[in-house]
């Protein structure tokens, strides 16, 4: 649609798809100025697309009130180009001056495309256009078709997901769009690699529990397969066939050298578990309102391009709770015999990746808006999944969130990331009976588990932190009061 009324009489002229399936165009000429009076079909802007240079005619008559683009801009289809006030404008018949066969029109004007806008007159008088070919009746003043510049090839602005390569039926695409699930993140199980409804719903389920789809993506190292002896045999067999250096197998066991992520994980866990005395406190909370906020965000246009999951809101709530209990954000410095209170939060997010557990952290998360958190977390997850997490991304964390809810687990006793004093574990959000005002109703329930280093944090402080976190998640409005 070329335009939508924004206010009573001001109409926006937007970039249409001037070819078939084009997505953007470059502005190469603006043919009107603010204050110009234009008629229906007056050429207002010339754009160059991947296919051609075309003049865009106005679909309304009126006075140009704003020009929203500049020559040289590359704008996506649908972008607002200019605004026209149609109230004081001329009647549509204004464009009558030039009609298909008109003696005066024969000198250069096009049929219902009169060109005599004030700017053009000015331009014409400014520069004598003697070499301009005289157009014959109605062929449209194809002003300067000689201008030939190709500006394509700008495909190097970052890796883009080839959305149209993903096979999914239109209703499934719509479902994904409605649920805010990026098709590119969905693990396809349909015939010929098509994404099915069930896949989208599963992806959404994972997203709701804060997971990244990596769990589905691929080969976990065999030692991370938690259970299921039967399945293990299959996994082992397939692992045995994989050409990993140093891997040896017989009929009953497979031996995999400990290295890389696995090794680092083990060292960190041992160091932490046997250095910091862990205490874990639990709380079961009603996440219904948080889930509602998430679904509202997903439905909002502003958030259309952001992946929003419970994890994002939990992160925000945790930051609010830390702000109320800043002494929690500290670490034990054994060497210097000091407690180091941090004035910043580098929020770690435990990520299961095909190569193992990684805990990259969001630097200065305490300064971030909800949207920045969402983008940051998504970024961390993608980087981790792609195996591109750098060491510095994993250093200097202050507090970590681990999301075992991803696996459908209710709770656990998380081990602190070394050098940190608090870790929050989030269980799966499940529909459960809950007592509200004396009535049993179905609510979205999840368990939170909070482990802390008892050397510097007492049970009271740890409990208050978990209580405050729970309170914000149960009643997100508290975030306004405390945040």
């Amino acid at each position: 649609m070329p335009g939508t009324s924004s206010s009573s009489s001001v109409v926006t002229i937007a970039l249409t798809d001037p070819g078939e399936g084009l997505t953007e165009a470059e502005i190469i000429d603006i043919k009107v100025a603010v204050g110009d009076t234009i008629a229906i079909n007056d050429a207002v802007i010339e754009v160059e697309t991947a296919k051609s240079a075309v003049e865009l005619p106005s679909h309304v008559a009126g006075t140009v009130t704003a020009i929203l683009v500049a020559v040289g801009d590359e704008v996506p289809v649908g972008s607002a180009l200019l605004q026209v006030d149609t109230a004081g404008g001329p009647a549509p018949t204004e464009g009558q001056g030039a009609s298909p066969v008109d003696a005066t029109a024969a000198a250069g004007d096009a049929a219902p495309e009169p060109e005599a806008t004030p700017t053009e007159d000015a331009a014409a008088s400014a520069e004598p256009a003697e070499d301009e070919p005289k157009n014959l009746v109605g062929y449209g003043a194809k002003a300067a078709p000689q201008r030939r510049r190709r500006r394509r090839g700008a495909q190097d602005d970052g890796p883009q997901v080839p959305i149209d390569r993903i096979l999914a039926k239109p209703p499934v695409r719509k479902l994904a769009r409605d649920l805010g699930v990026a098709l590119a993140d969905v693990f396809a199980t349909g015939p010929d690699g098509t994404v099915t409804r069930a896949d989208v719903l599963a992806a959404q389920q994972r997203a709701m529990s804060g997971d990244t789809p990596s769990a589905q993506d691929g080969d976990y190292f065999p030692e991370e397969s938690p259970q299921a002896p039967e399945g293990l045999g299959v996994a082992m067999k397939s692992t045995r066939d994989q050409p990993f250096a140093g891997v040896t197998s017989d009929e009953r066991t497979t031996r995999v050298p400990i290295r890389s992520v696995r090794k680092r994980t083990a060292e960190a866990m041992v160091a932490s578990a046997f250095t910091a005395p862990h205490v874990t406190v639990f709380n079961e909370i009603d996440m219904t309102r948080t889930v509602q906020i998430i679904s509202d965000l997903k439905a909002s246009r502003e958030w259309a391009d952001v992946k929003v999951s419970p994890l994002v809101v939990i992160a925000k709530a945790l930051l609010v709770a830390i702000r109320r209990n800043p002494e929690i954000n500290a670490s034990w410095d054994e060497q210097n015999q000091e407690i180091v209170y941090k004035h910043f939060v580098n929020l770690g997010i435990a990520a299961a990746t095909p190569r193992g557990l990684i805990v990259p952290n969001l630097k200065d998360a305490h300064l971030m808006t909800l949207r920045e958190l969402a983008e940051g977390i998504d970024d961390l997850a993608k980087t981790a999944r792609a195996g591109r997490t750098s060491l510095s991304d994993t250093r200097e964390g202050t507090i970590t969130i681990t999301n075992f809810g991803v696996f459908g687990i209710d709770s656990g006793t998380p081990i602190l990331n070394p050098g940190e004093s608090v870790i929050v574990g989030v269980g799966a959000i499940k529909d459960k009976p809950w007592v509200v005002d004396g009535q049993i109703v179905t609510r979205k329930i999840a368990q939170l588990a909070l482990s802390f280093d008892h050397r510097l944090i007492d049970g009271a402080l740890g409990s208050v932190l978990l209580r405050d976190l729970s309170a914000v998640l149960e009643d997100p409005a508290l975030g306004l009061v405390w945040g």
Partner: protein
Amino acid sequence: MSVFATTIPSVAEQEPLIQLLAPDGTRTPHPELDAVISAAAPGSDGDDLATPERLRGYYRDMVMIRAADLEATSLQRQGQLGLWASALGQEAAQIGAGHASREQDYLVPTYREHGIAWARGIEPWRLLESFRGVSHGGWDPNELRTHPYMIVLGSQAPHAVGYAMGLQRDGVVGTGETATDTAVLALFGDGASSEGEVSESFTFAASFQAPVVFFTQNNQWAISVPASVQSRVPLAQRSRGWGIPSVRVDGNDVLAVLGAVRAALDAARAGEGPQFIEAVTYRMAAHTTSDDASRYRPAVEEQEWGEKDPILRLRRHLEQLGEIDEAFIVRCDEEAHELAMELHHHIHGMEDPDPVGMFTHAYAEPHPIVEAEREQYLEYIAQFEDENENDKAEQRGEQA
């Protein structure tokens, strides 16, 4: 000797080009075609297609359809049409051929026959519907005796020949009954004429002496391929190898087209077999709104052809006859502008059709497979509604 030749000149370039109106409006007498279009000419059958009133009518028609064409291009640029294939510059070929056909004749167009459609009484907004994607064809081909626009080029030839062979079997060819004898006019362009099915159609048409006239508008460009690359000889000469008589006419000369098409259809209707006409014209606009002609053809070529404009040419002729005045010209322009504005407002208010409508006309009678497909499609559509319902239900649930 007929203008419709069956032999090829020893030098291909000597193929005559029939022209009754020069670009400056000068009228050249042509005994044979004058007898077809002018009642005053010797040998006329009494029909007068070239009275001043008729000429003004052709002029108005061309002005109107050009305005609609330009408006459609604007509408596409404004996002109202998915695509538009402009017939700018080909008005004389189309208005001439359209009016040369008789009411009972059957016309088989491509997607660039807006002048044909206009002459056959198809309102321009019906063309726009198809290009907007809200109609599967737009009109009743039986009622208007004009086939729906066909996007597949070249298909017009076999369709037309098949229809013409059907007419033979209906016994409405060569009976001498002028009111019922019927012929078919197949329309296609220079590009389509290079396609195999056109040659195959020539074979069938010639073998069965089907009452069909092949009317090729050689607009010089098959998208970006010039006619000179597609054929080493004038297109008009191609059909002669099949024994199909043919003629080359100036396609920007409404009278030449009118005379040639009328003569050819009369012959076909009378049972004299297929005929072929090459109308030499020029596609003044790009192939479609998705195309940019300036990438492959020089502007100077467009200027040259602009000077041969079909509308100006007829106006000059009328001026020379003293049969047109400024008031008429202005009135035509005003009506054309009104038509354009009507289309503009009509399109902006157009509603989407019922999506299951496509099953309605697949067959004349109910058909179990089509019915099953219709049901499947309804279920498919219902999926979308389900999702909407689910969304709503979800929201209700979460608010509870």
